[in-house]
Symmetry: D3
Subunit: 289 residues, 6 copies
Amino acid sequence: MHSSQSHPQSTTTTTTTNNHHHPTFPPPESESETTWVWTQIKAEARRDAECEPALATHLYSTILSHPSLDRSLSFHLANKLSSSTLLSTLLYDLFLLSFSSDPSLVSSAVADLLAVRQRDPACVSFSHCLLNYKGFLACQAQRVAHRLWLQSRRPMALALHSRVAEVFAVDIHPAARIGKSVLFDHATGLVVGETAVIGNNVSILHHVTLGGTGKVGGDRHPKIGDGVLIGAGATVLGNVKIGEGAKIGAGSLVLIDVPPRTTAVGNPARLIGGRERPVRHEDVPGYPK
Amino acid sequence: MHSSQSHPQSTTTTTTTNNHHHPTFPPPESESETTWVWTQIKAEARRDAECEPALATHLYSTILSHPSLDRSLSFHLANKLSSSTLLSTLLYDLFLLSFSSDPSLVSSAVADLLAVRQRDPACVSFSHCLLNYKGFLACQAQRVAHRLWLQSRRPMALALHSRVAEVFAVDIHPAARIGKSVLFDHATGLVVGETAVIGNNVSILHHVTLGGTGKVGGDRHPKIGDGVLIGAGATVLGNVKIGEGAKIGAGSLVLIDVPPRTTAVGNPARLIGGRERPVRHEDVPGYPK
Amino acid sequence: MHSSQSHPQSTTTTTTTNNHHHPTFPPPESESETTWVWTQIKAEARRDAECEPALATHLYSTILSHPSLDRSLSFHLANKLSSSTLLSTLLYDLFLLSFSSDPSLVSSAVADLLAVRQRDPACVSFSHCLLNYKGFLACQAQRVAHRLWLQSRRPMALALHSRVAEVFAVDIHPAARIGKSVLFDHATGLVVGETAVIGNNVSILHHVTLGGTGKVGGDRHPKIGDGVLIGAGATVLGNVKIGEGAKIGAGSLVLIDVPPRTTAVGNPARLIGGRERPVRHEDVPGYPK
Amino acid sequence: MHSSQSHPQSTTTTTTTNNHHHPTFPPPESESETTWVWTQIKAEARRDAECEPALATHLYSTILSHPSLDRSLSFHLANKLSSSTLLSTLLYDLFLLSFSSDPSLVSSAVADLLAVRQRDPACVSFSHCLLNYKGFLACQAQRVAHRLWLQSRRPMALALHSRVAEVFAVDIHPAARIGKSVLFDHATGLVVGETAVIGNNVSILHHVTLGGTGKVGGDRHPKIGDGVLIGAGATVLGNVKIGEGAKIGAGSLVLIDVPPRTTAVGNPARLIGGRERPVRHEDVPGYPK
Amino acid sequence: MHSSQSHPQSTTTTTTTNNHHHPTFPPPESESETTWVWTQIKAEARRDAECEPALATHLYSTILSHPSLDRSLSFHLANKLSSSTLLSTLLYDLFLLSFSSDPSLVSSAVADLLAVRQRDPACVSFSHCLLNYKGFLACQAQRVAHRLWLQSRRPMALALHSRVAEVFAVDIHPAARIGKSVLFDHATGLVVGETAVIGNNVSILHHVTLGGTGKVGGDRHPKIGDGVLIGAGATVLGNVKIGEGAKIGAGSLVLIDVPPRTTAVGNPARLIGGRERPVRHEDVPGYPK
Amino acid sequence: MHSSQSHPQSTTTTTTTNNHHHPTFPPPESESETTWVWTQIKAEARRDAECEPALATHLYSTILSHPSLDRSLSFHLANKLSSSTLLSTLLYDLFLLSFSSDPSLVSSAVADLLAVRQRDPACVSFSHCLLNYKGFLACQAQRVAHRLWLQSRRPMALALHSRVAEVFAVDIHPAARIGKSVLFDHATGLVVGETAVIGNNVSILHHVTLGGTGKVGGDRHPKIGDGVLIGAGATVLGNVKIGEGAKIGAGSLVLIDVPPRTTAVGNPARLIGGRERPVRHEDVPGYPK
């Protein structure tokens, strides 16, 4: 959380960041990504608990007392999203069962953790993201709600959606499809409509709307390609296609398709040049910091 | 929640929506609107509780254990807005007494429920709106706060206002006047100032501000006419008049009067043509989806 | 809360407000500012408790049962920011200790209270601000988090930051530096990055972002000079300097330096004239209402 | 609470207590008993709130913010007896409705308050009893449960009974009949069976059991006459009759009828002489302190 | 709960109870006992929820939303025993894991439910016992604590024990061994020491102590044989043996062995005759009502 | 908790217990008793947290995150005794201030911890007692309430008393005077009247009543000398004097003075022989296990 915004006028500049404080990635082949990340999280939490005894309770409760990432995440989400009429034990059951039935939910969470760590210079550790990032937590809850939606458990999906919208001020319809390695930075005020699709490696800042135009029913929300970066306060409306690696400037209003590797800025947005450079990992706009 | 946005460039197109999944409306003349809607809500909740036992507790607690809409709504709001120093029983008392003393509060809630159902394609049922729509709940709480304000119970009105702003991230001053059949869609970040007035059949999306200009005291906020539609992220400042049936494009900054049936878009906003067509029910811009 | 917005086109007009309902300020020399404000707050709360018995519990709990402002504020923040894994007693300890160790935290809170009272016509009393203003409460909690950050207690600083972001939808990085007499009006959706600096007498409305551009690491966020006013929904990105007494129009996107006493409006923002008048207290744009 | 026990060997001594600190009773004829007691309670609470600001919150919440005794009592019982699956608002409704439907529940509560005040030297005020006496609160909740039982709402009666048994460690079956002006002193561990009957002006200390013998079904529990006093730890088993004005010594095991104005002591209990004196108000053993 | 006590003087009388309102038992052979009882519980809860909508929330939350008895019981115990530092989700995990690892815990719970139903005329249904009987719930929690104790997880066993002692006022050391088909009636104040053993088919009333004599360490608490009945308030001290089918009168103090099928009454207790009758099912003193 | 009872018939036997698992006591002279005990508690909690990760949260919250015994105890009591109208932060303040104003409260708590550890073979560690012993916690809260009582803060003293009686089922009047090195074992149902006095080194089991006889006002409750042991379920009534080192048998009813080093048993109690042996530390009946 807390740091960067796309500068629309200058996307042709290569963004190079020396993330020398980041862990070596990818992890050694001899262990799975999930195991490796979970081991990191435990070590970070243990270190923090030692430095800051006043926080130890919180860290043991949310991380250190759990045997695995999915249980930690289930516990944390259940406590955050519970209300006087939706008890934490009920939500805990729901999350645990979802994570154990669909391992892709856990691997997506791990991919998101790695994405946040790599793209957000203000993120100091995996545990920091796991515990504190509203966007990360909202995204994991939405993936569970999406799974419920696909299983035709719509009332439960919408109840979960409602709690996420209330607690995190992040409002993603459970029917929306979200890829992997996604970063919802700061996240307050994010609104994503029912038929929206968000690809892999996408970074979206706060106050962003992926909405409808109000003119048509059915498939009426934006389709966001892989590696897209959308700046703070941008509004994208209608069943438009934002191409792979495109950038949407902060505060823009986008009502048209944006071709791949192109930047759109302004209200209403205009396109300001594609990028012809071959795409290397560090060039994908979703990794700008 | 979660779906539609005004497309400012295309408001001349008639918006036709086949709401074939919506209930026949108006209800049969032989029963009151409130009774009819409450019956629908109970039936929906009963059906959902049967399909989804894990949600039954929530549905019984909020809807099925109550004999009437005003008690259900009082209970739901009291639990959502309570805090460690504002107990739910106290708020419950306050809401119950308000609803029973002023039946127009209940009929306005019913009108809002019908409006949401008709205008928001993502709204799957009345109970969905009653339980989950932050904008709907914030609006009902504001109407009660407004009543307290008029009774010179300002500290209580402001305490209620504060809880709504915190819990729902919807910040409507208790002195603001709000009409009937209002839809606050998504609602996160909505800010409405002290001397603002919102007419009937108005639809307002999230991140909208109806604010002052900071230059004058007294009557300093916008007056929104009947049937107006205001898109996401729009900012309307000053004691300006937005005429009946006008549309404000998403992301617009409006500092001037907007005539009836006219659309304003851009930052700063410019007007893009009035509409001469006779106003039919389905043409009022408040019903665009 | 709830009232005014900067009107970018008209900042040359002198803003004169007859705050005749405001207390005479500064307070008599014979007593300290903190004591005077606390006495006012107690008197207001006592009056409100008498008029509105239903609110007396809330007022006694938060104000009237406490011997001093710092204890009242610690109590109020601890209860609001507690969660099932961060108990209110722990947070209460943390706030109490911070306020007693660093008296400037209390004097800054008092300065903010006076600023809100003077600049926001919708603020009816000091106690109203102390109890209900999300921006005020978030700011005080951030100052404590900032102190923890400087003491290298980063995990605790970030935990506090996370709770503020979740409860108030106000997201100010604990490393950001904030001056005195600051008004965060409405405050929902405010985002302030890690290396941002906010001067004295600054007024910032809701949905404002002081973010990075994503191109560079290190010192990458805006520096806001004394007396600046930033309108609702404005986005200021990059390590730019907003000069003393400048105004940023609502909904503007600012990517460049803004000279002192100059107004910037639009997306992207353009400058519309400096002010040559000698700066008097009542002319500083942070006091526009 | 906390004071006196029957001394079985010495009941023939006239018990004279100088309750000079007690209010003059009965209250002036010009007002009802309920109104008079409620006025006293409010005055006491107001005085305590002034002396002890730290307690003001508690006193406003439970007493001073309520317009009448039945609302105060409903609020207090609802908060004490609520659980994560029996919400306080639901119980509040239940108590409010019961008290308003059956005014005898309120007048019985008032009679109990007067009884406690007159018989227990450790009771310093009506508000002290209303807020703090487990026996008083358990008794009022039982009367409501009894009413539900008679209305064939047995599951609700038993749920209420269960909460009382858990919260107060007082276990009175909802079918048991209890008179007026009853004092359950200390009350911890009191057990009263399904077919037991307790008359008017009865005083029962803690750890007392009015149970069955296990040999027969049907009407199998003791019948306690008016004005009886039962000492701490006494066990009365079977469908026996304890006559008017009788005394049961502390720690006694009673398996036989006890004639009026007679004392029973020991394990098993033996009778130690009736009392021939004409019964005056101050002689009834239920008023011994 | 709520009914019967042993009558020490009359144990030679055959106790015949016409439990005509009880379900036919044993259940049909074609299904397991656990399944059959769970089916009954669901049916009872469904019927109660229909009759009493105000209780439906409670019944769905605790019973109807769960797929099996062990999940329902885990949920109910976790919510009842949770505290601000022992979260319900943690306890839920602990109970779920215990029940699934050791099916005898579930079958013991079922045996207890059947025992309560058969012996306590005041028990109106299985669900009534499952939800409301402190003795039943304390016993199930103790069995889980006992399992933790045997696994050398003593701190957790003692933490659980402590919560049970606090919430239910039932204090059974986790090292004590408890058989099947046990009835702890009313249960308030029951204290069972570390080296005590309780056999099968035992019925123990409230305020009973199975304690040590304070003279020796090691194995120092009573051993209670199968089918024993211990009346309310009885105190059994030291490593004494209460033989199969014996009865201990209410209020007795037992410091010596009691032979099988013998009754002990008084303080100190004396034996009042063995029973020579052949033991039939309905004659075992554990089934007296 | 959970173990031993006085055996009335055999108090002449020297009670020797090999508490070889207990810490060497007294602690080394070079440190204070309080420091030494607190160091032990921290070490125990740390060891338990390592063995039982599921309990680490609880242990950090209650012990390991605190710098001193008085803060740990204040936190623990505040959380246990809080209610919806008596917030934990308020109680935390009250306890913290009491402990810091009156260091004898802390040294008494330490003396009690040492007493429990030495006399109760079921007590496995200091932390076990600190966290889990109802009698220990009730006693510490009573000492604070007693201090408030002496300061004429009676409403607060009674409010605290009421919470202790409700939460722990231990009912000690705040005016009662209690010595040091006191053990209230199991503690459920303990009732101590207003004018009772309890000396040093006293051990009292559960269900004990130190009550009045109901015949006189004023000084009407028992005076318990140093080193007295009172067995479970004993009832001592009236202003009688129980001499130093006396023993009261379980289940006894005592209405007369008991000379020093004498044992009283039965209902009513008779004396069974004084002890002429010179009193050595290990002979004082308060240390029987």
